[in-house]
């Protein structure tokens, strides 16, 4: 009897559930392997969402998640589940499930969720097999000592090969291929068995109910109506409404205005006990006062030791964001402040560009993160933005020993440079073996160094490379996709930095450097970047009254040159009675267009030119999804 009777359910009320009746788990997988869809079935089978209210990927609530069909934020939900024991006695359990994102940019969301759990459902698409983020997330779960339940999903697909991939999974995590559950998030097949298995295999949380309260903050979200909502996992003791709590790292105290669980709507409770997962509301308005990784305790009876925290996610990719309409700068600032409330990974500071005016240098986890932030800013705050070409961060040491951290190419120091260091990643690529040669070629051209190669099964290979981050954040994934017909998957993590032979390429219009177009590139690629950018701009910059030379330069050395020839004619030849209104309207429209131009020196550059010149063929979440289809 999956949905416990009211009598049994009484035993699993929040704050009154014995730890041995709790199971905390997350669903982890490679992107698109069906985590959110499986979560949907669990929500239905446990009765927390009825079929009328159900919609696909119920927990993907943000517009942008729904449009892109991907999960960006983890979501925790408490669900009841009844199990009949070997002795025929029925017991009710409270399950806490966390659906996690699959895209590599959001790995930090996964690692936070893992710390709230004792077990993980490792989901693998039975038509795709193990992929790069399957491994990455599995290793994360193992580092956290979680019990892993391997599950093959999408067994309803004609292309599913559960036998083959069960074998692969068993090779990977040990055990018998028969232990691998087979489910379909689409049809619901096998999901009841999976829930039973979760109860059977995943250890109950342990903790000291009598010790001073300690709860780990694993997420902190700003809500317009409720202020900051803090998600916690109670380790020891108990938290109750109206008590004063203490944030152990900041020493700030707050009154607990509300405490509750997500079911999946926020539901206030009488508190949270050992092993339980839920949310707190204290009335604070700034998530920085409720930092992810911090430990919550009772202010009057505080615990002595903090729980182990998290490392803050470190931005990997930087880009300048500028409002197209300069007067929107304050709006952009407020908007970033607002997004930051929910997105600890987003960092930004004001910067000025001669070409683009006032804006912000922003740091992101990856290009998908950049794209999503930008899209949310444009959509939720009705801003029109230009984003400069993304770059990584460089450490530059001068001959005289001074050091510079460069997050913006235009700040690259002039003068004698002793060394430039750039971030390096360890990349894991999983691929059918037929593509190994092509991938090696690609990685070689991106300055990669092969670290090792293993066969996961007869025809599937894991390749490990170190690569400069700058070489993979941009179009690497697209290239990988096209070289492997979409079959390879990629995961990476930063491992430090390494010296590299880098130069700054400047782009000059009529002899003036346009800061927004400067780029730091490997010496061997300076020429091709210069030629590409000068060529692009030549086509994008409209002809002016005078000739406009476009140059690419490394220092004072010109490496490429193009010219926008002077415009010789713009007049409409015929202007009789019927042409006048038309002509005036045309000029009025052009005038409007001119307002949207930036003047560099004497050269009018339309915004579109900046956007087009700066747009990169970056890999995105969408691409990642397409790669699978």
């Amino acid at each position: 009897m999956p949905i416990p009777s009211p009598a049994l359910a009484a035993g699993i009320q929040p704050a009154a559930t014995a730890p041995h009746l709790l199971r905390n788990f997350c669903i982890i997988a490679h992107i698109d392997h069906g985590k959110s869809t499986l979560a949907d079935r669990m929500l239905q089978l446990t009765g927390v969402v009825d079929s009328r209210a159900m919609r696909a990927q119920y927990l993907d609530r943000m517009d942008i998640e729904r449009e892109r069909g991907i999960t960006i934020k983890s979501q925790a939900v408490r669900m009841p589940w009844g199990v009949t024991g070997d002795d025929g006695v029925e017991s009710a359990y409270a399950l806490n499930m966390i659906d996690t994102p699959g895209h590599v940019d959001f790995t930090y969301e996964v690692s936070r969720s893992l710390a709230a759990c004792e077990g993980a459902v490792l989901l693998v698409d039975a038509a795709q097999g193990i992929e790069a983020q399957t491994l990455a997330n599995l290793y994360l779960a193992l580092e956290n000592d979680l019990t892993i339940i391997p599950v093959l999903n999408k067994i309803d697909l004609p292309a599913a090969q559960p036998e083959k991939y069960a074998e692969e999974l068993a090779n990977l995590i040990g055990g018998d291929p028969e232990d691998c559950l087979r489910v379909s998030g689409k049809t619901g097949a096998g999901v009841v068995e999976l829930l039973d298995r979760i109860v059977a295999d995943i250890p109950a949380p342990t903790g000291d109910p009598t010790a001073p309260a300690r709860a780990m903050i694993f997420d902190s979200v700003y809500d317009t109506y409720r202020g900051v909502v803090t998600y916690v996992r109670v380790v020891d003791g108990q938290l109750s409404p109206r008590e004063r709590i203490l944030m152990m790292s900041t020493r700030a105290t707050h009154e607990l205005l509300e405490i509750g669980v997500s079911a999946p709507e926020p539901t206030p409770t009488r508190g949270l006990g050992v092993g339980e997962v839920g949310y707190l509301i204290t009335g604070v308005k700034d998530v920085r006062q409720s930092r992810v990784g911090d430990t919550v305790t009772n202010a009057h009876k505080p615990a002595s030791d903090e729980l182990g925290g998290y490392r803050d996610p470190k931005p990997m990719v930087f880009s300048g964001l500028y409002p197209i309409d300069g007067s929107d700068y304050p709006v952009l600032r407020d908007a970033l402040d607002r997004l930051k409330l929910n997105d600890a990974a987003l960092v930004y500071e004001p910067e000025t560009s001669a070409a683009l005016g006032f804006g912000f240098r922003c740091g992101f986890l990856g290009l998908l993160h950049l794209e999503i932030v930008r899209e949310r800013l444009e959509r939720e705050f009705t801003l029109d933005l230009i984003s400069t070409a993304p770059n990584v961060v460089y450490d530059v040491t001068m001959e005289d020993g001074t050091e510079h951290v460069v997050t913006n190419p235009s700040e690259y120091p002039a003068g004698k440079i002793r060394e430039v260091r750039e971030p390096v990643v360890r990349a894991t690529i999983l691929t059918p073996n037929e593509f190994v040669g092509g991938i090696m070629e690609l990685c070689q051209s991106r300055r990669g160094a092969l670290q090792g190669m293993d066969y996961l099964s007869e025809d599937r290979v894991e390749m490990r490379y170190t690569l400069p981050l700058a070489e993979i954040v941009f179009d690497f994934f697209d290239q990988l996709k096209s070289k492997t017909r979409g079959y390879a998957s990629l995961d990476y993590e930063t491992t430090g930095d390494a010296p590299a032979d880098l130069v700054k390429v400047d782009i000059l219009l009529q002899g003036e450097t346009v800061d927004a177009f400067s780029a730091i590139v490997h010496k061997d690629k300076a020429y091709s970047y210069g030629v590409m950018m000068a060529g692009k701009l030549k086509d994008l910059i409209p002809r002016q009254q005078f000739e406009v030379p476009i140059q690419a330069a490394v220092g004072s050395r010109i490496i490429a040159r193009e010219t926008v020839r002077a415009m010789r004619k713009d007049v409409l030849a015929k202007c009789y009675g019927g042409d006048i209104s038309r002509k005036r309207k045309l000029l009025e429209k052009q005038k409007e267009g001119k307002k949207r131009m930036k003047t560099i020196g004497r050269v009018d550059v339309p915004q579109e030119a900046f956007i087009a010149a700066l747009s990169s063929d970056a890999p995105t979440g969408k691409d990642a999804k397409d790669a699978k289809r």
Partner: protein
């Protein structure tokens, strides 16, 4: 030609009271549109129709076809007079009449004469009135030309376009270039002033081809020459052919070179530019009707799709001859929409029109800084009379000039 967007125009044709202001000082002209052609040229988006396009057996609606068109036009003349008077605009004698098309000379000379007579009967014509008709070179006969002159026409503007057969073919022109000198001679013998229209920049036209056409035009010794850069108008056959890649699009560089050649050849032959696309042998040979457009004077446009302007209000008639005829028959204004210009729009028009003329624009009405910039960049000069006049380069970049001045 697509009509602009505008506000609704009142059905009785009355105008906003502001148009009365200064009306007595403004010249008044009449444009008469004749929306018929024997065939449609591929580049042309004028409001014109072939007999085939209009054919409707048993049609009774007066004005919907060539035979009865003059009657409808005359009805609108009467309507115009009543509307102007109802709006309080003092009656002014007409100084210029321009009959354009389409191909006006597809109508019998008697019809054109009747339309001119209606203007004369309604408003009167000044003794030195300029009365022009457009004509295709192959649509005139000595008799018809004499009849027009007798009726009071003083000028004729021939659509010569080019003297080079392959260029004429690309333009879908049906006339034989060898016959143009005859048409011009007949017109002159009838006592009419003669102008020719040329088009440059046609796909496939070389600079030498253009020089040939210019030489042929000069050899005709007309009083006046108009030379237009070919505009690829949306919705035309030419536009489709260019879009499909069958013909190369004209380029600004080529058209600029041809404009410079035209200006040099025409000046060398004694024709001075007086508007960006117009050259005349003497100031007296300039087209006064068109100059009135550029000086923002008043005119009433009669006929389907015709545009009018009176004291800062512009309007335009519905395009289709049948719909037009129906409105006229019902005694309702044929205006499709109108535009009452605000101060800013009037200023922009004033500058964009005024700077096209050789008299230039009064410097006192312009920003000093902008004027100095234009002079420094060689786009304009400042005359002794303190007017800003475009240089050859400035004429080609007149849009830039207007942007810098407004």
């Amino acid at each position: 030609m697509r009509l602009p967007d505008g506000e609704d125009a009142p059905s009785d044709g009355t105008l906003p009271s502001a148009v009365v202001q200064g009306a007595a000082e403004r010249a008044f002209g009449v444009y008469l549109h004749v929306p018929f052609c024997a065939v449609r040229c591929g580049y042309c988006d004028f409001n014109t129709y072939t007999a085939l396009e209009l054919a409707r057996p048993g049609e009774q609606l007066v004005g919907a076809s060539q035979d009865t068109y003059a009657q409808a036009a005359c009805a609108e003349i009467a309507f115009a007079d009543a509307a102007l008077r109802a709006s309080g605009v003092p009656r002014r004698t007409v100084e210029t009449v321009f009959v354009g098309g389409g191909t006006p000379t597809l109508l019998p000379a008697a019809d054109l004469a009747a339309m001119l007579q209606a203007v004369r009967d309604t408003w009167g014509l000044t003794p030195d009135a300029e009365v022009t008709t457009e004509a295709n070179p192959d649509s005139v006969t000595p008799d018809a030309l004499r009849a027009l002159a007798r009726a009071g026409f003083t000028r004729i503007s021939f659509g010569m376009q080019s003297a080079v057969p392959h260029v004429l073919a690309t333009l879908d022109r049906t006339h034989d270039p060898e016959r143009v000198p005859d048409a011009v001679r007949w017109a002159r013998e009838a006592g009419l002033g003669v102008s020719v229209d040329l088009i440059y920049g046609t796909p496939g036209e070389s600079l030498a081809d253009w020089a040939t056409s210019l030489a042929a035009a000069v050899a005709l010794e007309p009083d006046h020459v108009s030379a237009y850069a070919l505009t690829v108008e949306e919705g035309t056959a030419l536009h489709r052919r260019v879009a499909r890649g069958e013909l190369p699009a004209p380029t600004d560089d080529d058209e600029a070179a041809k404009y410079e050649l035209a200006d040099a050849v025409l000046a060398g032959a004694g024709y001075d530019w007086y508007e960006i696309s117009n050259w005349a042998r003497t100031p007296a040979d300039r087209c006064r009707h068109n100059v009135a457009y550029w000086r923002n004077q008043d005119w009433w446009g009669i006929g389907p799709g015709a545009h009018s302007h009176v004291g800062g209000t512009r309007w335009w008639n519905i395009k289709h001859p049948r719909a037009y005829a129906a409105r006229i028959a019902a005694g309702v204004s044929p205006a499709a929409a109108r535009e009452v210009l605000d101060g800013e729009a009037r200023l922009l028009e004033d500058v964009l029109l005024g700077t096209r003329l050789v008299e230039g624009y009064p410097v006192s009405a312009l920003s000093r800084q902008a004027v100095e910039g234009l002079v420094a960049d060689g786009l304009a000069v400042r005359t002794d009379a303190d007017r800003l006049v475009l240089t050859l380069r400035g004429r080609l970049l007149a849009d830039t000039v207007v942007h810098r001045l407004t």
